[in-house]
């Protein structure tokens, strides 16, 4: 039983890793620019599609193609911020979120365009080995292990960087009070773009670790279910980010554990709960929304700054 639990926990952990990377991107972007990034999935998707094209025609070796895909995602996010989001006054909440939907739809359409409208499922070559790793009795795919490690490494690097480095602190300053930061000589626009580049890069990374390895040892499958503006994992990612009120990164990480590991472990629970794991996740997200969790992580003044 312990081994089964460990087994499920590991699978859940891999899912948590993907969710964590998406959630961190969402939080970074929201904190720095006040944008609730519903385009996050679309931006990550474009990177994956570029990867699929490059490996499908064997233009580049998989690992290099993945790097290019990552760069494309990051660049897409940068363009979205520079050309579109920077022009929207933060006070216009509905416009902001509609525009985000538009940007996400745009990238989803571009993705389908790049695939030349291929219907059905596309086999995707993985860039990580498909071997199985044995960890003290539990079996896990190499790709899943790498996902966990990469997610952990990202957080291990990103959180201290944000806290201590000059750029990181500048990012936080812009997030807390844009005007004051600018008065202090910080180029708010530059740092807003930096947040988007990092966040979008993370989205690309998350989807690159997920989709090309979704079929286990054979690699991955890219299907219609992915080529949408709001992918299935986006909602749990927002759920995780909401644990921190879209503001706190450590809380978002805790949230990604809830929506990954904890949710998977519920398979072991008695029947009705196990079957309705997904619905339970939705209930949790609804509760988080009602709690207005942002109140716990930011002062009223900071929230005002984010809204206007």
């Amino acid at each position: 039983m312990a081994t089964l639990t460990a087994q499920i926990a590991l699978i859940g952990l891999a899912k948590s890793g993907v969710i964590a990377m998406l959630a961190v991107g969402i939080v970074l972007i929201y904190r720095t620019t006040g944008v609730v990034n519903l385009a996050h999935w679309g931006i990550g998707l474009v990177g994956v599609v570029v990867y699929v094209l490059l490996t499908g025609r064997e233009i580049l070796p998989p690992l290099l193609a993945a790097a290019v895909g990552l760069a494309v995602s990051a660049l897409s996010g940068l363009l979205a911020q520079r050309l579109v989001f920077a022009r929207i006054h933060r006070g216009q909440v509905i416009t902001m979120i509609l525009v985000a939907l538009g940007v996400g739809s745009f990238f989803a359409a571009v993705s389908q365009m790049l695939l030349r409208g291929q219907r059905g499922e596309i086999i995707v070559d993985p860039f990580l080995p498909g071997s199985i790793v044995n960890l003290a009795g539990a079996v896990i795919l190499a790709s899943e292990l790498v996902t966990i490690l990469v997610a952990a490494a990202t957080c291990a690097v990103l959180l201290p960087w944000l806290k201590r480095s000059r750029s990181g602190r500048a990012l936080r300053a812009v997030a807390q009070n844009r005007e004051a930061a600018q008065l202090a000589g910080i180029d708010a626009a530059r740092y807003a773009e930096l947040a988007w580049v990092i966040g979008s890069g993370l989205a690309g990374l998350a989807l690159l670790l997920l989709i090309p390895h979704s079929a286990g040892e054979q690699g991955g499958v890219l299907s219609v279910v992915h080529l949408v503006p709001l992918g299935q994992l986006l909602i749990p990612a927002f759920g995780a980010a909401l644990v921190g009120g879209l503001i706190s990164l450590p809380a978002a990480l805790a949230g990604s554990l809830i929506f990954g590991v904890v949710q998977e472990l519920l398979i072991l629970a008695p029947s009705p709960i196990a079957d309705q794991r997904e619905v339970l996740a939705f209930v949790v997200i609804t509760v988080l929304l009602l709690l207005r969790t942002e109140r716990f992580f930011a002062s009223n003044a900071e929230l005002e700054a984010l809204r206007s």
Binding site: T95, I97, G102, A109, Q232, I235, F282, R292
Partner: protein, 363 residues
Amino acid sequence: MSTRILERPTATLPAKRTKPSGAATVGAVVLAAVAIGPLLLGDFASFVGARIAVTAIIGLSVIVVTGYTGQLSLMPYTFVGIGMFVAAHAITGWGWPFWFAAMLAAALSVPLSLLVGLVAVRLHGFYFAIATLTFASAVGATLFEWDAFTGGQTGMRVARPVIGPINFAGDEAYYLLCLVTVLLLVWMVIGLQHSRIGRAMTAVRENETAAATLGINVMKTKLVAFIVSGMIAAIGGVYHGMLLQSVTPTPYQTPYVEAVGVTLVILVVIGGMRSPWGPFIGAAIMYVQVEVFRTALFLQYIAAAMTAIAFIVVLLKLPDGLVGLIKHEAEVVRRAPLRGSIRVATIIAIKVVVTYAIWRLSQ
């Protein structure tokens, strides 16, 4: 200055009707063309016309909750799905007439919109949108996976109505039925706009605090908007079911239900988010575009990308969408009839030529 009048208003004659504006005349002409056009172009054009009309009905739900009240709901198609399958059961299963099934569908949408509404109206801006997204997923993962309701993967059949001697099974007849229905619903939504509750909705959208200090119950207004919107979408679902005649649950499951919800919002915004005519125009453009590019799938995705860009441009620059643009052009024509008409005719001609050219090239 007057003294007593503020205290006790006396009834007066209704205000005299002013001359109909240029936009109304243009609208009437377009409407006539729209009504007759597809009938002249054959069966398939009628099917497309019906599709546009049905989407316009569903789009009205977006107008009420988002256009008027400023709340972004991403779950209209959840209500469409509910309406559709309720119609499938009522019409095909129990032999009910379609209008009765429509009323049932609207009624059955209320428990869900009430549940979601009571949760969501407490939330602001993007949290409301995310809440509707979450509920759409939740319902997609439960109700639309329930075979007893959806008839499983094989789906269910929905018969088109027969009213007296008229059989609406044919596309042409069905198109006219849909057209009449959408016009009726547009009329009703316009009535809503010019009423106490409709004005409360727009007040809530523009300035919640001011609305509250004028006696408007903001939460109740948002809730009513959401419920009315759900009912309209459910009625749209009934017509959608009759249009397709064979319905499956897949489009109402995650993640497709959200994707099509986004598409709907996009076309309503492009058409004009604040006007009941917006969804009609947005749907017309979208489905004509789909048909023009039908054979060239690749072009379809380019069109989709351009639509997304158009959507963003409209959001940033043209808040009233194409309806606003048409009203503006109608004013231009009214003020300088000859010059204005030439200008408008030129713009339309260019668009028609470009579309035709693309169509020919894609053949």
